[in-house]
Symmetry: C2
Amino acid sequence: MAEERKYSIEQLNKFSVGLLVKMGLTEENAEIVTDSLIFADLRNVSSHGIVRLPTYTERIGTGIMNLQPEMKYIRQRGATALLDAENGLGQLAGHKAMKKAIELAKDFGIGMVAVRNSNHFGTASWFSMMALEDGMIGITMANASPAIAPFGTATPLLGTNPLSIAVPAHDKVPIVLDMAMSTVARGKIRLSALKNEQIPLDWGLDEGGNPTSDPNEALKGSLVPIGGVKGSALSLIVDLICGVMTDTGLTGTVKNITDMSGPSDTGHAFIAINIADFIDYGLFAANVDAVVDIIKNLKPKGGAIYMAGEIEHNITEQKKKDGIPLDAAVVELLNKTAEQYGAAKL
Amino acid sequence: MAEERKYSIEQLNKFSVGLLVKMGLTEENAEIVTDSLIFADLRNVSSHGIVRLPTYTERIGTGIMNLQPEMKYIRQRGATALLDAENGLGQLAGHKAMKKAIELAKDFGIGMVAVRNSNHFGTASWFSMMALEDGMIGITMANASPAIAPFGTATPLLGTNPLSIAVPAHDKVPIVLDMAMSTVARGKIRLSALKNEQIPLDWGLDEGGNPTSDPNEALKGSLVPIGGVKGSALSLIVDLICGVMTDTGLTGTVKNITDMSGPSDTGHAFIAINIADFIDYGLFAANVDAVVDIIKNLKPKGGAIYMAGEIEHNITEQKKKDGIPLDAAVVELLNKTAEQYGAAKL
């Protein structure tokens, strides 16, 4: 087992904000990005957590990601808007866009904001959950670099293209779906590669389209889509909305986060639905609680019954108390990056 | 092999409209419902086609479905509306609601209409495709009777809860996803049962949660969700939007179309997205065509490469020429129903 050390939120926050500010981000923007990364670590989506910092800093350092974008709405009508991220950090673009979608939903019952010319935005649920405190359903989607083969081919062209939907409850933990169109997220395989761990055979296919337990082979090959043709089609549609409809790029042109040859050309879409425009909000939240009770009272098959997002919620609460464990190899990488940019070490 | 006979669209249309009018529907409403059924038969989704007529007429005949609903918008603000179907036919409610969503999207860039107190609405893509001719992306979802077990249980509580998304192209066939949250739609198993055919082992689970090749056992048990926990969570969320948010009923209360003990308490949601509010429409359509070309030019793995909805489109064109084949057993059932209600036989 790899060596681990636990860090508090404060420690990780100070480290990440310090590093990003050294890179040239404003304090406010560094806080937003850091919040997204720590959110991922707290929810055990470590692949999208603080481990990503060296890659982000490398993208900024090589000048292929814009540190000082002037993100502007280039189209806006009714309940919709299109934000140009100007090749800035995906977290900053998405944070701004989701806030806008929520404002539009306050005015029109539903709001949709698409984002063009953006970058990797971290965890999709971090945005969809922003809608919860306003009594809204939040929907987030993004395209990503080629990872899944269109049905009928063996060539990875489609992204894992995450889809997250967050639905508020009253006393219960909100229902939060955050899924890739593959059986697992690419980042999970990337973390296995970093840790030199083998992966289950239904995670990825090698370049020849054959199942593999080697994460590095899977990263070179393609990922298995959920439901076969269904996951493949859903991935394409997310790309048509996020990539083609934002005029950011054609399907297959998004660059992997580790590809430093140019801007990543990512697109996102955010939708907020104001529940009170369909039903009394209190009744809705109470009924979601009732549904959770109905499901929790079913006969469990094996262990306990968890709702979507509940395990992540529980882990977050636990890590807030106990600290966030980081692999020694990850910490070494983070400190090397900090040293490189003259920032304080972890 | 079962005996088949081919019918023209005109023959089926005359039969179906005649039967529905005898049941008390207006000519106009009978035409709308019939169009949805024949659409399904043309696309080889025969389980949602003309074969459903005896069940619809039985629901109407027993008085548990309202023949003369006064479907009204009980909430309406900005880009959203809530339609009360007053326990009328799902096709009629959905047709009205999707048209409204399209009108809202013309005014606000996006429109969302939810429907409460409705019934089985046929094929989800019939509605989502309505948005195509206005240069919009159409999204349709509905809840359905218990068929899928929430993750961690063996009890069917969640519906197959169809999701359809239609995206327009220029010269190419539009991209049309129409999926259940199960590996196959329940109706497909129902048709196998009607035809006394066995089903593949990854379609359904028996009452004990074990794989079965007997469609009748699977209809008593549960369906396998796509992507395991992902399909199960997506199904729950569709239900929270269509069932709970429309205040139609709590998850698990939708009645199966063959359950004649009372109203089915189904809900739907329709979203239309006006593409021209995000990008020049001509550029979008041309770029979707380009993406289709990119995918079609990949190396095929096995046979030809088809886009989502393309096989259904091709079959439709073929059946329009050659006629729509119906199983002799289905025709017998249809004619028995026609006889019962004094309508012309097929």
